[in-house]
């Protein structure tokens, strides 16, 4: 079960501050969407609207075509995993799991048990006595086992060590294969998670800067390296994001569709066309926008 998510001209204001500015965005059902943005870009605001934690100031947020806000039928389709404050949570791990199973219609308790074993979570320990990383792992377990048609992980990995994060990523891919749904992953660990994304949304200052399939981004973001003069001539008129120079050698990062002919032309001129990581693209795209 997977559901699509659609935002039509969504604006969210907190008093005078506009957290989201006229955002229109469609997230295809059954895909893994990576949501990235600088601190304060509006990631969590966007996600909390999809999860119906808030109402947009204007515009509409639809899950499978119907408004999600104050719509119980749609709200139970969306699981929102975020950095919850468990300081006062004295219930045990297993109790929290069983609670989650009650209000998530697709919850798979067997799967939750498997995940608890994989993350080595102590089921009989009160949640507020768990380490930060274990609390995050518990959130991840609830999110994954919810099998909600829209499952959102908002920086769900906070405090998790590298081996646990690795389990998290593997489980997303495996469960996506067995039980396809719509995942939205917001993250600052871009280089660690980019291989998970089918689509990438970059937001900046409350607006969508870029929304493309990973494939397109990978093909469009390239570095051109060679003799400075040649590189300048070749990249003239292209969208340049960054440049570096070492002696007479220059490397320019560009974003745009080069095409095979242009690539061949570069090779013939002795220029090297190299890949650019999503992390680098993100850094320089948001830099440029500011």
């Amino acid at each position: 079960m997977a559901a699509s998510v659609q935002l039509n001209h969504v604006t969210l204001k907190f008093k005078k501050f506009e957290a989201l500015k006229d955002v229109s965005l469609t997230l295809e059902a059954g895909k893994i969407h990576g949501l990235i943005g600088r601190n304060g870009a509006g990631k969590t605001s966007l996600l909390s609207l999809i999860a119906a934690f808030r109402e947009p100031t204007s515009g509409e947020v639809l899950v499978d075509g119907a408004p999600v806000f104050e719509n119980p039928e749609k709200m139970e389709q969306v699981a929102f995993v975020y950095d919850k404050d468990y300081k006062e949570e004295t219930e045990k791990v297993k109790k929290l799991i069983s609670l989650a199973s009650h209000y998530r219609p697709h919850f798979d308790t067997e799967y939750a048990k498997q995940l608890i074993k994989r993350f080595k979570l102590p089921v009989n320990k009160p949640v507020n006595k768990l380490s930060k990383g274990m609390q995050s792992a518990l959130n991840v377990v609830i999110g994954l086992a919810s099998r909600a048609p829209v499952t959102i992980f908002d920086e769900a990995y906070l405090g998790m060590d590298a081996p646990s994060r690795e389990i998290f990523y593997k489980e997303i891919l495996q469960d996506q294969e067995d039980h396809p749904r719509t995942f939205i992953l917001s993250t600052h660990l871009v280089s660690e998670m980019d291989y998970l994304f089918d689509n990438v949304v970059i937001i900046d200052q409350g607006t969508v800067l870029l929304h493309e399939p990973y494939e397109t981004i990978e093909a469009h973001g390239v570095s051109v390296t060679g003799a400075a003069q040649e590189v300048d001539i070749f990249t003239a008129g292209m969208k340049q994001l960054n440049e570096q120079q070492l002696g007479g050698t220059k490397s320019v990062m560009i974003y745009g569709n080069l095409g095979d002919a242009k690539r061949q032309e570069a090779r013939a001129q002795g220029l090297e066309i190299g890949p650019v990581s999503l992390q680098d693209l993100f850094i320089h795209l948001t830099e440029e926008a500011n």
Binding site: Y169, L173, Y195, F197, P275
Partner: protein, 124 residues
């Protein structure tokens, strides 16, 4: 091992060559099941789209073929095709450069052959 920081070569080509290598050195024999896209994604931590692109090329060229619902298999004649492709590439990638560099350094043909023989002898 695929190492993105290691090479300017696009990742999908690296994935493709990785499977080619396994076929050429008989780790994957004709008729064998090739690793699935998901296995490759998990193993190398490379995006699905990238892996698919490499695999699709191999399918298009008849090196691999799909069995619906089962997976990807090595086609008959795959090794032969690959070896032929690689022999051609061998000339471009190695021999041309070798000859040019030898000319620059004034190494004669006889000397080149001597060098090849002694290198082979060392490795054997």
């Amino acid at each position: 091992m695929v190492n993105p920081s290691d090479s300017a070569k696009p990742l999908f080509l690296q994935i493709r060559e990785l499977i080619e290598d396994q076929i050429v050195n008989d780790q994957l024999k004709e008729g064998d099941q090739a690793p699935s896209t998901n296995q490759l994604v998990n193993f190398y931590k490379i995006n699905h789209a990238t892996v698919s692109k490499g695999i699709t090329q191999l399918v298009d060229e008849g090196i691999l073929f799909k069995k619906r619902g089962i997976g990807m298999f090595v086609a008959e004649g795959a090794k032969k095709t690959l070896v032929q492709q690689r022999k051609k590439a061998f000339v471009e990638n190695y021999v041309t450069g070798l000859v040019q560099e030898a000319e620059k350094l004034g190494i004669t043909e006889a000397e080149i052959i001597e060098l090849i023989k002694s290198t082979k002898g060392r490795d054997a």
